[in-house]
Amino acid sequence: MAHHRLARAVGAAVATVLAASVLTSCGGSDASDGSGDPVAGGTLNVIRANPFEGFEGDKQTLNSSYQISQAVIEPLIRVAEDGKSLEPGLATSWKYTKGGTRLAIELHPDATFSDGKPVTAEDVAFSIETWKAGPNYGASFGTIEEVEVVDEKSLVLHLSAPDTALVAFLAWANAGVMPKDFGGRSAEEYYQDPVGAGAFTVEKWSLNGEVVLEKNPDYYQEGRPYVDEVVSTFASDPNSVTLQLQSGEADMADEILPVTASTLGDSVYAGPEHLTPVLLMNTREPELADVDVRRAIAYAIDYEAIADGALKGYGKAPEGALPTNTENWAPPSQPYFSRDLEQAEELLDGADNAPDELELTYPNDASSSVMAQVIQENLGEIGIDVELRSADTGTAYGAMSSGAYDLVIFSNNAITTDASDPAWYIVATETMFTGFPTDEAIDILGRYASTQEGAEKEAAITELQDLWTEQAPYVALAHTPALEGIRPVVHDAHVTPWGVYYFDTIWKSEG
């Protein structure tokens, strides 16, 4: 299950009803795991789970790309260790004023690009214009009407409407700060050999091969990064990942599968349960247009078997339709689906157009394969014959996004700290490609954005959960943690719930 996020932009495009809010966050991470004082030096060898898509933020869809990119072209704001709050980075402070329509940002006085030039408000203004122009994610920054450069280290964003989600998006890996006019180069030249204000510079990179990052000696955070070099290699085969970690050839392995984690003993970091595999139901198909059929399917699934068997215990039965462990997350007002065959059969009996057979497409990784087989058996118990169709991730995504499917196993997760983030993704993709109408959800999300009260935001999230539970255009199969293989010599890797971390906090207790 690649944790990717395409079409984010569309979600943000509908985020026009946003409210006043003041977010002056600033959590802090003490960056320590109790292993003593950080030691500088060494090479960090990382296995990435997916190809690296390059440094152009608007074209990135995979965690592997976010992670490498933000180490070089750092965003304004950082995600704190808890994965739910934000902390200062290139921006030392940020504050909403004028009813949430102005966002004042102060830049770190020592922030410089890796070529030694200072990071200025002009650079940030240029970067924002570049992000906004992106065809995929530009709309995420669509509420920024104007960037006012106050002085070299201060700027004010003028917003068309209050936008409480904007700050979280400024911490997003795709929103890296670049030198004005790409430092006098073309965009193509820049993205090939980027200069950023991040902790590392680029030694070499390729899509499927090695990405080598070198320590940026001019990094603005005192003492960081600790390691001299990061070498990222791409390996998706679980056996290869296991062997490389066990032999010490690799120090870390990103986004490992539960089957790999189950072989690694103590060398596994499991974050809070967040990643949410889902079963999408194509509501354009006559049988699946019937909500009773969809709910029957949801009641037939053995969620415990999925959590304990397919996910090897790295997960729990779903508590709602939205990924857990984000800021303002709240459960549905009624318990989420659990296995209830009687209810499933009753719903199916009452359905006008109950299906005899359905096709289930699933990505051909080990976890999805077992989940698909569990679902196949479960639906067989209520008289629905499921034909399985395995596909590589790209083909599965293609089938899903083109609507050429009955059922698909997919995955949803946040890529920022806020509970509304995965909800926006669902809305942006026509309820995750199920074709289920989004008007009501957009309305709820509008209300979510228009309040600064936590309780009201949680109430809106509950309302969304209820909508997607009652209508069941898709069903969450589990909540599972981001799993990272980490050798014991590696310290202070602060993995967010969605599985991304900063290289600069990491140090090794041996070369």
Binding site: V259, A305, G309, V370
Partner: protein
């Protein structure tokens, strides 16, 4: 001074070769017989195991027990359980009921089509022969596996697609083989005699031409079964063939691949089963070929 070696006599050499050849023939016959017997026993064993599968195991090969997945061998599960908690032995046995008939079908269908086309082309010649041969040239110009993958991918997963893909690609060799035999046979005296006697073309083909081409075709068919077994496994391994949870050796190998470091037998056993069966068919084919040579 010169010397003449008696052993250099041409007659002596010929005599020696003749003796060697005579001596080698029984050895060669024996070798052919051994190959046929070993190959036959292997294949027959698979057929018997496939037929007796329900009596050899009490487990249903598709019954999941997800909480007992990837168990080590035990009295209940002699070869352990797979990633969905299914009995590995039952799956290996029942997979023979899937793989053997499909391997047979994907070999026989192209054989029937190729033989029919080869006979007609060889006997009648003309524009039809030219057309079929050009089509076969075209098909042979493509790498076999690539063409089959393209076909299966466009036709969709499943047995039907496999049958079509194997037939579309596989008939060519049979057609060429049979056509070449027919070209040789059609000028034979007994064919001329049949024509002179006023027998019709269908009768001549059916009664006199076809039977005389079958030996070579059958030998090739046996060898082709080796390709069928391995190719079927390869397609399922790649996800184009039989889908889970149906027990099929190639699919089982693919499904077990992520567990190589912890449950190696799940990958190795189906692989071994495929290898031994392919060996069985290969020995049968070789044995038949050798026997034909000896005659």
């Amino acid at each position: 001074m010169s010397t003449v070696s008696t052993s250099a006599s041409p007659l002596g050499a010929i005599g020696g070769a003749t003796e060697t050849s005579r001596a080698a023939r029984p050895r060669s016959r024996r070798a052919a017989r051994i190959k046929l017997v070993v190959g036959g026993v292997i294949v027959a064993t698979y057929v018997v195991l496939a037929l007796l599968a329900p009596w050899l195991t009490s487990h249903d090969p598709t019954d999941q027990d997800i909480l007992n997945a990837l168990q080590a061998p035990s009295a209940t599960h002699p070869l352990g359980t797979d990633e969905a908690g299914r009995d590995e032995l039952a799956r290996l046995l029942y997979a023979a009921r899937i793989d053997l008939p499909i391997a047979f079908l994907v070999t026989v269908l192209p054989c029937l089509l190729g033989t029919a086309l080869g006979v007609v082309c060889g006997y009648l010649g003309g524009w039809f022969d030219a057309l079929v041969m050009r089509v076969s040239d075209l098909l042979q110009a493509f790498p076999t596996y690539i063409l089959m993958i393209v076909l299966v991918f466009s036709l969709g997963h499943g047995v039907r697609s496999l049958l079509i893909a194997f037939t579309v690609v596989g008939w060519v060799v049979y057609a060429r083989l049979v056509r070449a035999e027919v070209l040789r046979i059609r000028e034979a005296g007994y064919i001329t005699a049949a024509r002179t006697a006023g027998f019709g073309t269908p009768r001549i083909i059916a009664r006199h031409v076809l039977p005389n081409t079958l030996r070579q075709t059958l030998i090739y068919l046996t060898s082709d079964l080796v390709f069928a077994v391995t190719a079927l496994a390869a397609f399922s391994f790649l996800g184009f063939g039989i889908q889970q949870p149906t027990p099929e050796w190639g699919a089982m190998t693919a499904a077990a691949q992520p567990y190589m470091t912890t449950n190696m037998s799940l990958t190795v056993l189906p692989g071994l089963v495929i290898t031994v069966l392919a060996l069985g068919f290969a020995l049968l084919g070789d044995g038949l070929q050798d026997r034909k040579g000896n005659r």
